[in-house]
């Protein structure tokens, strides 16, 4: 039996510990010293219990030591009484439910027994006999542990198994999965379940008295889950780039990985739109080519300019006819030689075009809103603003990082971030003087004025430049110069815009470092805002120019094809400049810094800038879908190439960013930026084009109509004439789509739902505050009781 060291009482003068109010018996002072003692002597007490356990011949003390020690303390009261006060109270303290749940198997099993019991009781009305003896579940668990007849692990296991049997199969399998026990324990539990199930199978069914629908629903759910796993097993290709992403995550961590995951998401969106357009529009038009053949021959330059051979191809709006394909009346006129075996299905091309574009936009909208909702739900936590340091320390380590050098870098980054946070805390306690605050505000204002003026300057420059290029183009057309020159002129405007888009963000980054914000996250957000503002304003100007027909074209009558070509050129130039930026920004900089400056510092991978470039490219695609149905395919190719280029450059030239990136919050920000300025702007542009702009007279699927939307009206009237039974469709069309009241109603509903959710969140925050107060009170109770226990033991010792 170990000899606990002599017990000395340190009565400190400090009575203001932990916001303790005035309490009897100088409780505060004793409590602080008692805590110190626990620290010193808990290790000794465990050394003592270890010796005890070794005498009993049991191994692995860390797993089972304290509850068995407490059991032994109760079973052999003689030993406990020899050294009351310290060893008993310390042992009781060490075997408190809040401490044992973190490490002992028995406690975990008991906790899950309680949870299962609660779950079962929640699903049916509790009978009076089954009411628990104590209100707090943890006390009940304590009961189980100290009751010697039920202190064994096997008994607890069989209790838990019995409880589990009364659950439904899906709940049972979920419980089994989520119990934090080792696999060997779970297998033992499962064996126990199977044993208990066979003789008591029927009785368990009757005891639960479930409805037949409920059981079959669970079996269906289980069956579906098995089917889903089988399906997943059959699709190894459903996880493309799995190894590449693991490599990137292993070397650079979750923040850089979030860029590549975003790229993958965009790729999925584009593949989806492309497939819809392919099936319903492109393939059919390809099967029925128009009468006019393509006069121009293919030279390589088309890939850059999108003009030339591509002008009269499937790529652009002008190729698509406004006739009904496979029309029975038309075929009888033309007298086709090869009469089709099956009756021909007429396919109204204009309607198909309009509806396909509409459906792909609508589907993209739903997918975007869903993924925004999903990632917002994952990243937002009620009351997450407080407690930065604790969260940082507990959640900062990224276990995905496996390379030694990256691990060292991660350690350095965490150290720097912790030091910054601590410095911020220290400075918060001493606020700045008025002068310093004014200076800070002045710097901020100056930086914003500078960035806004650069945006304005860029926009004005682009405007005048495009007017100038338009004039030059007209001249060249009049002069009938060489085709190379004419094609070359087409590329100048996209080149300028892409150059501005590439250079200005670097300027904004410099501006952000000059500003020197308090928090690095705010710095990042400001840079993103400015960059985004520039891109969106320039795009807005270009949209205005396209719609007012001031487009620089190759000789072409259709303004839609012109706009489509312009968008194609912008996309290609954007890709070229991204490539150049990668080469010069990363490769050349690394070579220079290694060879000339001889430093180990590699360029950092700028996540925000790269993501905004992706968003910009995606906006161009969405703007151009109506005018060039194959643009999603171009974007798919572009994204595929971009993935491999960026990955190679990253691996060879870059290092992980040193700024703190909360990957999940960034993911939410990216998806929100994709949804709000980007997708919404494109949707507004397309809607305006469909509703109010006059399509060209001589080519495309909407020739001769007033607006593109009128084709739907024409079709509705046709439908009314041919079959007067479908009046509900016209009614729907008239009252829901054309009437604005319905839209207002929808917006009203959306606002109401948002308000409701905000109120729910506020309520939850209040509840969290109340619960915290309750827990603090319970903590004070606990400490008071420990003190009382200690004084009673001392009294006993003195009396004995």
């Amino acid at each position: 039996m170990s000899q606990p060291p002599p017990f000395t009482l340190h009565v400190s003068e400090d009575t203001e510990s932990d916001n303790q109010e005035l309490s009897p018996d100088n409780e505060g002072a004793l409590h602080t010293s008692f805590r110190q003692l626990i620290q010193e002597q808990s290790s000794l007490a465990e050394a003592g219990t270890e010796l005890e356990l070794q005498e009993r011949g049991r191994g692995h003390p860390a797993h089972l030591a304290p509850p068995d020690a407490s059991a032994s303390a109760w079973l052999e009261p003689g030993q406990g009484e020899q050294h009351p006060g310290d060893s008993t109270t310390l042992r009781i303290l060490a075997s408190m439910p809040s401490r044992t749940i973190g490490r002992s198997r028995g406690a975990i099993i008991s906790q899950y027994y309680n949870r299962t019991a609660r779950l079962r009781r929640r699903s049916s009305r509790p009978s009076l006999q089954q009411l628990s003896r104590a209100a707090r579940p943890s006390l009940r668990q304590y009961d189980l542990e100290t009751d010697p007849a039920r202190a064994t692990l096997e008994d607890k296991r069989s209790l838990l198994a019995k409880e589990l049997l009364s659950l439904s199969p899906s709940q049972r399998s979920h419980m089994l999965l989520s119990v934090p026990l080792s696999l060997a324990e779970k297998r033992a539990l499962r064996r126990e379940l199977n044993e208990q199930r066979s003789p008591l199978g029927l009785r368990a069914h009757h005891a639960a008295a479930p409805s037949p629908c409920g059981w079959s629903k669970d079996y269906i759910a289980l069956g579906c889950r098995h089917l889903w796993y089988r399906l997943l097993a059959l699709l190894p290709a459903a996880q493309p780039w799995h190894y590449a992403l693991k490599q990137i995550g292993g070397r650079f961590g979750s923040s850089v990985l979030s860029y590549f995951l975003f790229l993958k998401t965009l790729l999925m969106f584009n593949v989806f739109s492309f497939l819809i357009l392919l099936v319903f529009v492109v393939a059919l038009q390809a099967a029925y080519p128009p009468a006019k053949a393509n006069q121009q021959s293919f030279t390589g330059f088309e890939l850059l300019t999108g003009a030339g051979y591509f002008t009269h191809s499937l790529l652009y709006y002008g190729y698509y006819g406004n006739i009904t394909l496979n029309d029975p009346s038309a075929s009888s006129l033309s007298g086709s030689v090869a009469a089709p075996a099956a009756p021909p299905l007429p396919y109204n091309m204009p309607l198909a075009y309009l509806f396909t574009v509409g459906v792909s936009f609508f589907a993209t909208c739903i997918l975007l809103v869903y993924s925004m909702y999903h990632s917002f739900g994952e990243s937002y936590r009620v009351g997450s603003s407080a407690g930065d340091l604790a969260i940082k320390v507990f959640c900062a380590w990224d276990f995905k990082v496996i390379q030694r050098r990256s691990v060292k870098l991660q350690c350095e980054n965490i150290c720097t971030q912790l030091k910054e946070l601590l410095a911020e805390r220290r400075s918060r306690s001493c606020p700045l003087s008025l002068c310093q605050r004014l200076g800070r505000v002045a710097v901020l204002l100056l930086a914003w004025v500078l960035s806004l003026s650069t945006v304005l300057g860029c926009v004005v420059a682009v405007h005048y430049f495009s007017e100038h290029m338009h004039a030059v183009q007209q001249e060249h057309r009049a002069l009938a110069g060489s085709s190379w020159q004419r094609e070359g002129i087409l590329l100048v405007l996209p080149l300028t815009v892409s150059l501005l888009n590439t250079l200005m963000p670097h300027l904004y980054n410099l501006l952000a470092t000059w500003e020197r914000q308090d928090s690095p996250e705010v710095e990042v957000y400001m840079a993103i805002c400015r960059n985004l503002l520039l891109k969106m304003v320039v795009l807005g100007l270009l949209c205005y120019q396209w719609l007012s027909r001031r487009v620089i074209c190759s000789d072409e009558e259709c303004w839609e094809t012109c706009v489509g070509q312009d968008l194609y050129r912008f996309m290609v130039m954007d890709f070229v400049f991204t490539l150049l930026d990668t080469i010069f920004g990363e490769l050349v900089w690394r070579l220079i810094s290694e060879k000339r400056l001889k430093s180990k510092q590699r360029p950092e991978f700028d996540i925000a800038r790269n993501v905004l470039e992706l968003i910009y490219g995606q906006t161009l695609t969405w703007l151009g879908v109506l005018f060039a149905p194959l643009l999603p395919a171009v974007q798919v190719l572009k994204l595929l190439l971009l993935f491999y280029i960026k990955k190679t450059s990253l691996m060879q030239n870059c290092q992980a960013p040193s700024k703190p990136w909360q990957a999940s919050r960034m993911r939410t920000v990216f998806i929100t930026l994709l949804c709000f300025p980007s997708f919404l702007g494109a949707a507004v542009f397309i809607s305006y084009t469909i509703w109010s702009v006059k399509p060209s007279e001589t080519c495309g699927p909407f020739q001769g109509l007033e607006t593109i939307y009128k084709s739907v009206n024409v079709w509705a009237k046709l439908l009314e004439k041919s079959s007067p039974n479908i009046t509900w469709l016209t009614w729907l069309h008239q009252y829901l789509v054309e009437n604005t009241f319905f839209l207002f109603f929808l917006s009203g509903v959306l606002l109401a739902v948002t308000y409701f959710n905000i109120q729910v969140v506020r309520g939850q925050q209040r509840i969290i505050c109340l619960l915290k107060e309750q827990i603090a009170n319970e903590g004070e109770d606990k400490i008071f009781l420990i003190h009382k226990l200690h004084s009673i033991c001392k009294q006993k010792e003195r009396c004995a």
């Binding site: 805590r35 934090p180 297998r187 097993a233 997450s384 900062a396 999940s664 827990i775 004070e780 606990k782």
Partner: protein, 205 residues
């Protein structure tokens, strides 16, 4: 003797040469039900686990224990500052030498997998951070944790004053019942407020 009649076996993917290690189908199904891993992941884990054993012992990889030194040669654990704690927490070895059996290995991968619940992850994270295994995180545990995070004893570590301030702040923020230590519930409460935890507490083979 487990004949082919009663016990059909599944071959590990990417044939490890010649004999090929086999995992009984019953066991595979049981592991699938009791862990968060999919069939592919379990088979891959089996392959990697048997690669840690010497060639002659690879046939019955299911029942052998791999010593800690071999486990720590895995690239996923090699540079991890918490490698010793991970082995200690997941090992069910009676001798206390932190050797891992295949089931312990699966346990570890299941907790660190994509589909594990946040509850389980935070439970095991608590056990990993509890350096003295006493069921709570006290000041010493927190100090050791911060030292692991910032790189053990190198130039870029925190000074004593900063460490004190840091631990004081952590306890203020997370110790709700004010007993000077952080128990499991308080830890889970703190961690549930961070949406990044589940994605950073991940190891994929």
């Amino acid at each position: 003797m487990a004949a082919a009649v009663t016990c059909e076996a599944e071959a590990a993917p990417g044939g490890m040469g010649g004999a090929g290690s086999l995992l009984p189908r019953e066991a595979l199904r049981e592991y699938q039900e009791l862990t968060f891993l999919s069939k592919q992941e379990i088979l891959l884990a089996y392959k990697r686990f048997s690669e840690l054993l010497p060639k002659e012992q690879r046939e019955n990889a299911c029942s052998l224990r791999v010593p800690k030194s071999r486990i720590l040669t895995l690239p996923e654990l090699r540079a991890n500052p918490f490698q010793h704690r991970i082995c200690r927490v997941f090992s069910t070895s009676e001798e206390g030498d932190d050797s891992m059996s295949f089931e312990d290995f699966l346990d570890m991968l299941s907790v660190f997998s994509d589909s594990a619940t946040s509850d389980i992850k935070s439970h095991y994270a608590f056990r990993i951070f509890d350096f003295d295994d006493d069921g709570t995180l006290d000041r010493k545990d927190l100090e050791k944790l911060v030292n692991c995070l910032t790189g053990q004893g190198e130039e870029a570590s925190l000074s004593n004053a900063e460490m004190e301030q840091l631990i004081q702040n952590i306890l203020e923020e997370s110790d709700i019942d004010k007993d000077g230590t952080i128990n499991l519930s308080e830890f889970q409460h703190v961690v549930s407020r961070s949406p990044d935890f589940a994605s950073s507490f991940k190891i994929v083979l």
